[in-house]
Symmetry: C2
Subunit: 319 residues, 2 copies
């Protein structure tokens, strides 16, 4: 990746906002995305093309995508539940489209009302629509293996089923699969085991990213495990928006601020200015007042002597 070691993919405008009741005004969404991109974040999942009656919080996704596309260098990602959503995403011009496939069929039926076979059929339809586009307009198409680390309804999902579905998504025409700890069941050993399983099935190049939650406090430990396996894209949410770590059923994403601190402290370049990133929280605090924001770095600050990315720029002038 150009000048960075790890791609931090901000999912707050989608996963964060869909998990809270208030609807963030579109001007705040635009300001959030603009400010986070200005802080150095290179990929943002800005919304989801789902019916407005299901997720009114994301009903303005089309307009948000249009705005995000004006930001130079930003990869504009969206979630789609099916081919109809993908059609809207293609029309809007999103750079990256993610289709979730819950490896728990019970969860798939409850969540998307579709069997595995039906979701794979949607994937094939989406791949077909993408293939019909001129090369330069084709978005990156990811199939996300959700509930990969276990399901609140079924518990652990057999390895063979996960491997079969990963193969199925690639055969359907996905460019890549992703692993998603939807339920916050993951632990570092499971992260390493599943990455090896899926990479062993579809190849290393077809699995580069992971979507982790911090439900049980293991989010950054799981991220470390993924890094150690060579994954290079980590999803996270500014302020852990939408999660409530200290409440039952908590399901927040890992916190972008803390993740960026961990990576930069380890010497892994994210391209993100941590001070500017932390400052973006003010937009959230003003736009959805009362919603808790999480993270340690915003309060604790970076340690004395922390090697800020900004400080590592070559010094151009000597006074």
């Amino acid at each position: 990746m150009d000048g960075i070691d790890i791609l931090v993919s901000e999912v707050g405008p989608r996963d964060g906002l869909q998990s809270i009741a208030p609807i963030m005004p579109i001007e705040a969404k635009k300001a959030w995305i603009t400010a986070e991109a200005a802080a150095g974040v290179r990929e943002i999942e800005v919304g989801s093309f789902v019916p407005a009656r299901i997720l009114p919080q994301l009903a303005d996704t089309r307009e948000v995508v249009t705005h995000a596309l004006t930001i130079p260098g930003l990869t504009v990602a969206v979630l789609v539940p099916n081919a109809r959503g993908a059609e809207a995403a293609l029309e809007a011009g999103a750079h990256k489209i993610t289709l979730p496939l819950s490896v728990s069929e019970t969860h798939s039926l409850r969540n998307l009302r579709r069997t595995h076979a039906q979701v794979l059929e949607e994937a094939r339809a989406i791949a077909g629509m993408i293939a019909a586009l001129p090369t330069e307009r084709r978005p990156h198409f990811e199939g996300s293996l959700s509930t990969a680390f276990g399901c609140t309804l079924e518990g652990a999902i057999p390895d063979a089923q996960i491997a079969r579905l990963a193969e199925g998504l690639m055969a359907a025409g996905c460019d890549e699969v992703g692993l998603s700890d939807t339920t916050g069941f993951a632990d570092p050993a499971a992260v390493k085991r599943l990455i090896a399983l899926v990479r062993g099935t579809v190849g290393n190049a077809a699995l580069t990213g992971i979507h982790l939650h911090n439900t049980r406090g293991l989010g950054l430990a799981n991220a470390l495990a993924a890094l150690e396996c060579g994954l290079t894209t980590l999803d996270s949410s500014l302020g852990g928006l939408g999660g409530c770590p200290f409440a039952p059923g908590a399901s927040g994403n890992i916190v972008t601020e803390d993740l960026v601190f961990m990576l930069e402290a380890m010497g892994l370049r994210t391209g993100i200015d941590i001070d500017r990133l932390v400052a973006v929280r003010e937009i959230l605090a003003a736009a959805v007042p009362g919603e808790p924001l999480y993270g340690f770095i915003p309060d604790a600050g970076v340690p004395l002597g922390f090697n800020r990315a900004a400080d590592r720029q070559p010094i151009k002038e000597v006074a």
Copy 2:
């Protein structure tokens, strides 16, 4: 270790209680230690032999040690700031004595009012007292390298200084050195680097444990890094007592409940029953009401299908 892979060393009755203003009644301390040992915790740092005017919260350490020594199989650990404290610890009969040496000399002077040379002199005096005891009464003597990952006053401490002080503690007669992230500055790369540095200096057998804080949310990621280096003793505090992760200057230890969950989920045996462990929080909540308790597992619960240690015991009876 007998039947376990990782020793979780509970430090709440010392590090947790010294960090909060209320003084926990001694009966609650005894009940806490008893209940946590009954949940399977095999080592507890029960107090510190410091003058009561400095830490009135720990003024009853002698009596707490006496109680803890009645619990079969429990390793009773204490902190001592100097040879005078160690004398009291030896009289009380503690199994393990830890002397902190701040690798930041500025911090050492502020905290213990002693230079490095003076602390090493205390270590020699303590080792001499221990050597004068009959073999079976000699406690394990650890020198803890505090502020090892950086100091709020000095920032990063040079590797050569840390290595020299680790050697100095061993030369003074310590059985072992430990690494302590007093300030919450550690990251997983730094954990691995410092473990390699110190082990390269004093040998693998002389560094088996680490004391981590969760100040910046990286506590469990740092614990994972330590595990991957082969360390087998991890300090933690029930409920993260004494730390306030969301306040400036937060300095809480990693949370025992979440650490035990991570380890057991990874298939590493701790010997600890997580449900009984979580239940011990009720003693803390009643004894120091209003003090925040942290941790994700107590609220989120273990995942569906979690392989509880208790469930792995051989079934002795069939009804």
